[in-house]
Symmetry: C2
Subunit: 194 residues, 2 copies
DNA sequence: CCATATACGGAACCATGTTCCGTTTAACAA
DNA sequence: TTGTTAAACGGAACATGGTTCCGTATATGG
C-alpha cells in the first residue's frame, strides 16, 4: 500500500506549463470575441481562436458561464487596477476624471452581460459583489484625493457614482454612445466644486 | 386557360376551420407553458401540448419570437379589456384599484420577457408601443372617472403610474412578491385624495 | 530516459430552433 | 354525393450550440 497521506506541506505536482498557457490563451480569445462578436459567440469559436480543442477549454471552464464570469472578473481587475496607476500619473482631480472615463468604457462593453447577470445562473451570482468590492474602494480613494485638493465635491458616495454612470449608459440604442458621452460629461462637470 | 382574374370582391377561400382551431390551441398552450415553465420552453413542447406538429406551429408563427409576441399581445389585450369590465362593475375608485392589482399581476408574469424585449429581435420591436397604446387609455379613463368622484388625486399621469408599478415589480428576488405587494399597496394608498 | 499524472483534441451526444416535403383534409362546385 | 384542389398537417431531418467522453500526447519528477 503506497503512502497516500500527503507529506503535509507542498504536495501536488505543479500545474503544467502548457495548461497555464492555454488558460491564458482561452481567456484572451474569449475577451476579444466577447467584445467583437458579442456575448453569444459559440464556445467552439473561442476554442478555435485560442488554438485549443473544446475539451481543453471545458477542462478549465466547466460551463460557458464560468468563462464569461472569468473574463468579467479579469476586466474588472484591469479597470480597478488602473485607478492606482492613474493616481500615480496625474494630479488627483485629473486622475479621477480619467478613471471615470475608463470606467465608462468598461461599462459600455457590458451590454450583453447585463441581461445574462439576471439570468439566475449561479455562476453569475457572485459577480455583482465582485464588481462592488473591486470598484468601490478604487473610486473611493480617487474621490478622496480629488476632494482633498478642494477642486471636487466631497459629498459623493462612490457607489452612487458608479451606479449613476452605469445607468446613464443604458438609455437609448440609436445614437446611444454620443448621448451617454454627453450625460457622463455633464455628471463629471457636476463633480467640480463651485 | 382558367379565369385567374379574381372576381374583385370576396376572393380567397375562407381560412380552414382546423387552422383556426389549431392557432387558438397553440396560443393557449404557449400561454400556459410560458407561465408555468418560463419563457424558454422548447417549441416542441408547446406543439405537443397543443396536440399539433411543429410544422403546424411554424406555419402560423414562423419564428419562436412571433409566438412569444402573439401571447404577449393577447395578454395585454385581456388585461386592458378588463378595465372596461371593472368600470362597469364597481364604483370608479374601486374599479381603479382592482385594475391596478390586475395590472400588477400581469407585470409579475413578465420577468422573463423583460430581458427578451431588449434582445434586439425585430419581432419584439413593436411591443413597447403596443403596451403603451393599450394600457395608457385604459388607465386614463379609470383615473379620470375616479378623480371625478373626488376620492382620488387628479394629477396622475397614466403612463407614470404604469411605469412606477412596473419598476416596483423588478426589485429583489427573494421574498420579492411580498415586497412588491407592499410597495404597490403604498402607491395605491398615495393615490387617494387627502 | 522512464513512468505516470495531467492535459489535449475533437468526435460524439444532446437539446433546440427551423425547414422540408409527402400525406391528409376542409371547402367548394358539379 | 362526390371529385378536385388549395391549404394545412405532422414529424423526420437539418443546423447550431453546449457539453461529455475517451484515446492519445506530453510535461514533470525521479
Amino acid at each position: 500500500m503506497p503512502n497516500d497521506s500527503r507529506p503535509e506541506g507542498s504536495n501536488d505536482r505543479r500545474v503544467r506549463a502548457d495548461a497555464r498557457r492555454n488558460e491564458d490563451g482561452v481567456l484572451a480569445a474569449a475577451k476579444e470575441l466577447f467584445a467583437s462578436a458579442g456575448i453569444d459567440v459559440a464556445v467552439r469559436d473561442i476554442a478555435a481562436k485560442a488554438g485549443v480543442g473544446v475539451g481543453t477549454l471545458y477542462r478549465r471552464f466547466p460551463k460557458r458561464s464560468d468563462l464569461v464570469a472569468a473574463v468579467f472578473r479579469q476586466e474588472v481587475d484591469a479597470c480597478a487596477a488602473e485607478a492606482a496607476i492613474l493616481a500615480a500619473t496625474y494630479p488627483p482631480d485629473q486622475a479621477l476624471i480619467h478613471w471615470l472615463w475608463r470606467y465608462t468604457g468598461f461599462i459600455a462593453t457590458k451590454k450583453g452581460l447585463a441581461t445574462a447577470l439576471h439570468s439566475g445562473d449561479p455562476a453569475y451570482a457572485a459577480l455583482p459583489d465582485y464588481f462592488r468590492t473591486s470598484f468601490e474602494p478604487a473610486l473611493a480613494s480617487l474621490l478622496e484625493a480629488a476632494a482633498a485638493t478642494g477642486k471636487v465635491r466631497d459629498d459623493i458616495a462612490p457607489y452612487d457614482l458608479l451606479r449613476a454612470i452605469g445607468n446613464l449608459s443604458v438609455a437609448p440604442d440609436a445614437e446611444g454612445t454620443a448621448h451617454t458621452h454627453r450625460m457622463v460629461d455633464l455628471m463629471i462637470d457636476g463633480l467640480r466644486r463651485r
